[in-house]
Symmetry: C2
Subunit: 223 residues, 2 copies
């Protein structure tokens, strides 16, 4: 069976978990703290980042969340998540990059550094100026989701795609870390509530990262 090396608040691992579940692919969760720089993990993924997927029976290893998702999209027919015409697939991939790069760089990355890495590893206090800026930028991204959902039922069009799973994975980590203020984002909140209620999403909402607690609304499916 596939072993997924990840930690609970890794947004890229969450994306892969959602895709695996939606496609009905069985996997085990293996805990990896990439900041510990374990040699065995670098042997699996020279980039030293989570997620990595390893199948010991077949001696196969995959890494990089987008490469992993494309692999299963190509090899498992069930529930296509990068589907449609070439134009539609380009739109899905554009949005995946927007959330994996811009949202992560603006919001999830700084929140993880200030609220998780500083607490767990560096034993420092978070910088409130950086937290405020991340929360301000989160609003800009939520406004963009509001705009998309005003025009389409899902982020990339008429069906749920990997763009929705990618955005929800990033947002869920930011939400866990208290970085999301949902007021005035009715469209984004409605879209997120639908994703949150999917069977693929529920197990993640009940998991906790040591020491760090999420706000009360985090795991509420109608929250």
């Amino acid at each position: 069976m596939w072993q997924l090396y990840q930690f609970p608040l890794c947004p890229f691992s969450r994306k892969v978990r959602l895709l695996l579940s939606e496609k009905g692919i069985a996997y085990e969760l293996w805990r990896e703290n990439p900041w510990e720089g374990r040699d065995e993990f670098f042997a699996m993924n020279p980039a030293g980042r989570t997620p990595a997927l390893h199948d010991p029976e077949r001696g196969k290893t995959l890494s990089d969340s987008r490469a992993i998702c494309e692999f299963f999209e190509e090899t498992v027919e069930k529930n296509p998540l990068i589907s449609g015409t070439a134009d539609q697939r380009a739109e899905i991939r554009r949005l995946i990059a927007l959330f994996d790069e811009s949202f992560y760089g603006d919001v999830t990355g700084p929140l993880l550094y200030e609220r998780m890495k500083k607490r767990l590893i560096l034993r420092q206090s978070p910088d409130s100026r950086i937290l405020r800026e991340a929360m301000r930028l989160a609003h800009d991204h939520l406004y963009y989701i509001d705009y998309l959902i005003d025009n389409r039922p899902w982020l990339a069009g008429s069906t749920m795609t990997l763009a929705d799973l990618t955005a929800a994975a990033q947002i869920s980590v930011a939400d866990y870390l208290g970085g999301i203020d949902w007021s005035n984002h009715d469209q984004a909140r409605g879209w997120y509530a639908v994703i949150k209620s999917r069977p693929s999403f529920r197990p993640m909402l009940s998991e906790r990262m040591e020491v760090i607690q999420p706000p009360r609304h985090y795991a509420e499916v109608d929250g």
Copy 2:
């Protein structure tokens, strides 16, 4: 015809240019300084990043370098660059991510900030400590290329793929900015010399970014 919005030292635009040329797709170069935050450019790409591709006749716009490359790989048969089995395609995409994310984050990004952005925009001097660290990390990446090329003719296997173009695009920008010390990297240097000599690569080597000059070996094909 496609209009490519880019600036000369954008490594992601260079990757797209190499792919377009290798596939024989005609395009015009349009200069875009993403740091100026032009409204018309944000309308084309809400992420505000280069490259973006626009076809005014067909009213079509593409953005994000990986989404663009996947689009042309799907729609243009000539010279497949993400080819082979699903496993091989996963390996190509893993390496693309390694260079677009890790190499960029470790090397190209800091060099662009210190040597281009500080000079052109912020009117500050570069931080020599950050430059030294970027050059140290560049060696680690070149050692990894040496290791790959010891075992395979190209980075991802027996044929040239988008992994090679991605790595060469990042390295060429770092090399322009004086961040690459090629000594003790014979395999990587040999591999890069082959890519440099391709017709798709030559036009880029003769372009210059205003104010900033590359080192002498930069444009030498046997350099």
